[in-house]
């Protein structure tokens, strides 16, 4: 394991419960991971598996109906679950920041982007408006926005989606964060723009040595950008490991199924049948015992009714399954 001082974010035993009319929904169930300085961890999984809840729990932005519990939730060694509201506010937007999925709605339509960019900087760095604007112009340039100074006076609706997402990135970088959480930052964008934005993000992250948690459901993005990958299913991390290892030798039946679903030119035959994962995601309301994937798993056994063991290989590739290798 790397030097523990390199660990920016440490999540241990995080659970998020949401009160709903139908009962308690266990959106995130006892997940643990950590991210080091300069590392990109991708959380991947299908819609509703708890990715966003995880990120919001870290940022303490959960909706009112949701409660989180964690054995440990530490940022740069400081336990966030014990920090007060003021402390969290001091960290948020300052040393840990976040980029949201919808560039169209994540900016306040009533204020200029300049106003929204400098807000956090003035607050956290006690900087003057002028200094903040300078930094904003600098960062807008960095994310590839030409004539940045003029853009500061524009309103979000005057920018295209790609530009807005760049503004969001610049905004997240304003205070020079150590941790950047990006929740599906490109899902709403076109493929060509997506490639540009991801490239930009990856470059900046490397350049600034930020620890990044990138959330996505797109295995293509994961494969190209992540250092490590955590695959979530029904609120749990079912498999986690270095990117290459995970893609080249997936251990969990779910991960395997997922990879087989995607047509890959050259690998899948055009017009041929694609791999499938039968069935649907289980309900997360109420207690889920045993392996949550078992009723969609072709290799399910009686033993799956109990909680599956966590298995681990030497290179830090871990998975939750009764089988050593499902393939």
């Amino acid at each position: 394991m790397a030097n523990s001082s390199d660990i920016v974010l440490e999540v241990d035993g995080l659970s998020v419960d949401i009160r709903t009319a139908g009962g308690t929904l266990h959106a995130v169930r006892d997940i643990s991971f950590s991210v080091k300085r300069g590392e990109t961890l991708c959380l991947v999984g299908e819609s509703g598996c708890g990715k966003s809840m995880t990120s919001l729990a870290i940022m303490d932005l959960l909706p009112k109906a949701a409660t989180k519990t964690a054995r440990r939730l530490a940022f740069a060694g400081e336990d966030l679950s014990r920090a007060g509201k003021g402390r969290i506010n001091a960290l948020r937007g300052n040393s840990m920041s976040m980029i949201f999925q919808e560039p169209m709605t994540a900016l306040n339509p009533a204020y200029t982007i300049g106003n929204q960019l400098v807000e956090a900087y003035c607050l956290h760095k006690k900087a003057s408006e002028v200094e903040a604007r300078e930094r904003a112009v600098f960062l807008l340039g960095k994310v590839g926005i030409a004539n940045a100074a003029e853009r500061l006076g524009q309103y979000p609706h005057q920018l295209s989606g790609g530009l807005r997402q760049r503004v969001m990135i610049a905004m997240a970088l304003m205070c020079g964060p150590e941790l950047l959480i990006a929740d599906e930052p490109t899902t709403a964008l076109d493929v060509t723009i997506q490639a540009q934005i991801l490239r930009l993000l990856a470059d900046l992250q490397r350049e600034l040595g930020i620890a990044m948690v990138l959330i996505t459901h797109d295995l293509g993005i994961v494969a190209r950008i992540a250092d490590r990958v955590a695959v979530m299913y029904a609120g749990q991390i079912v498999e986690e490991g270095p990117t290459a290892s995970l893609f080249n030798a997936p251990r969990h039946p779910y991960t395997q199924g997922l990879i087989a679903c995607i047509p890959v030119p050259g690998r899948t035959e055009p017009g041929g049948r694609l791999g499938v994962i039968p069935g649907v995601v289980p309900s997360l309301v109420g207690e889920v015992r045993g392996c949550s994937f078992r009723d969609r798993c072709t290799k399910a056994q009686q033993a799956c009714l109990d909680a599956p063991p966590v298995r681990e290989t030497a290179d830090g590739h871990r998975w939750r399954c009764i089988l050593e290798n499902a393939a």
Partner: protein, 322 residues
């Protein structure tokens, strides 16, 4: 293969108001597209958001009258076919499985709607046909009397497909049928569509922005940019040798799950085009890495040849044949 549907110089514009104090502007969503859809093929239409794919699809379905140009179905203008006549031969599958099913109707009544409209069979016969159709798309009978909200996205999309196929149409226009679904469900639906095509001898117009899917499913691909078709070719040819710079960029942007390849550099400019203010000349020129001097002023004509068609100054000059 014979052309089943032909679109001649289709244009569709909308009057859009851009906020209260500004006047209306004309937006050319589809700008002079000529296409043929051949019996039994899967014609994919790809392009970025807002380039007019859905508008084109709605015109092909007869749901939206073109501002100019005409569509013929086996040589007959679709306007003369009427709503019912079109309905028997061309059917849609929409992108959003949530808004495409009436939440107040049961699954069976949704699927039976076209039969009812056309007055086919008795109620009992319709019920039987509906159940058969549901079975064909992989939905057990017990779903028949449920409501859409009780179904998952993939199941809903199956219902939509069942509704489209219950009248045994020849052409199915699928507007991004899987983009709202998770990958694990997407593959189920894609498999289903391919199976049904073989079984029922269907022709598909398949709209998507997912090039991996398109490559997997299509026989021919039309690439759209800002309301125009910029390139049209057989799938294999297009993916092997794209001719238009935009097609090239599009292909380069595809992120396949292959670790270690990193994020490609598409070389495109970031100036995202405003459809209300389309660039002069070739609409792609502000972003084009291979821009020529005349691109900014001259609209490239479409060049048709045996491999397909392309509209780019890099490929042939002069007016296209016909």
């Amino acid at each position: 293969m014979t052309a089943l549907i032909e679109a001649h110089d289709l244009t569709r514009s909308f009057e859009v108001s851009r906020g209260m104090f500004k006047g209306k502007r004309t937006l050319h969503a589809v700008n002079g597209i000529s296409l043929d859809i051949r019996q039994g093929e899967v014609l994919a239409i790809v392009g970025e958001s807002g380039c007019g794919k859905s508008t084109l699809a709605r015109m092909l379905l007869g749901l939206l009258p073109p501002s100019a140009g005409a569509i013929t179905l086996e040589g007959q203008d679709i306007r003369s076919l009427g709503r019912k006549g079109m309905a028997r031969r061309v059917q849609p599958v929409f992108q959003d499985p949530y808004s495409s099913l009436n939440p107040r109707r049961t699954i069976a009544s949704i699927v039976a709607l076209p039969l009812e409209v056309h007055g086919i069979g008795t109620a009992a016969e319709r019920r039987k046909m509906t159940i058969e159709m549901l079975d064909k798309v992989g939905l057990p009978q017990r779903f028949a009397d449920r409501y859409p909200r009780e179904l998952s996205g993939g199941q809903r999309q199956r219902v939509a497909i069942a509704r489209a196929l219950v009248m045994k149409p020849e052409v199915v226009v699928c507007d991004e049928p899987t983009s709202a679904l998770d990958v694990s469900v997407q593959s189920q639906i894609l498999n289903l569509l391919m199976d049904l095509r073989r079984e029922l001898n269907l022709t598909y117009v398949f709209i998507s922005h997912n090039l991996a899917v398109v490559e997997h499913i299509a026989t021919r691909v039309a690439v759209m940019y800002l309301g125009r078709v910029v390139e049209l070719a057989e799938t294999a040819a297009l993916f092997k040798a794209p001719r238009h710079p935009y097609t090239k960029a599009l292909l380069a942007s595809v992120l396949t799950p292959e670790p270690g390849l990193g994020i490609p550099d598409t070389g495109l400019g970031i100036a995202f085009p405003d459809p209300l203010n389309p660039p002069s000349g070739c609409p792609f020129h502000p972003r084009c890495p291979e821009r020529l001097p005349q691109c900014a002023s001259v609209v490239p004509q479409i060049l048709r040849d045996e491999t397909g068609a392309v509209a780019c100054h890099l490929h042939g000059q002069g007016p296209a044949p016909h």
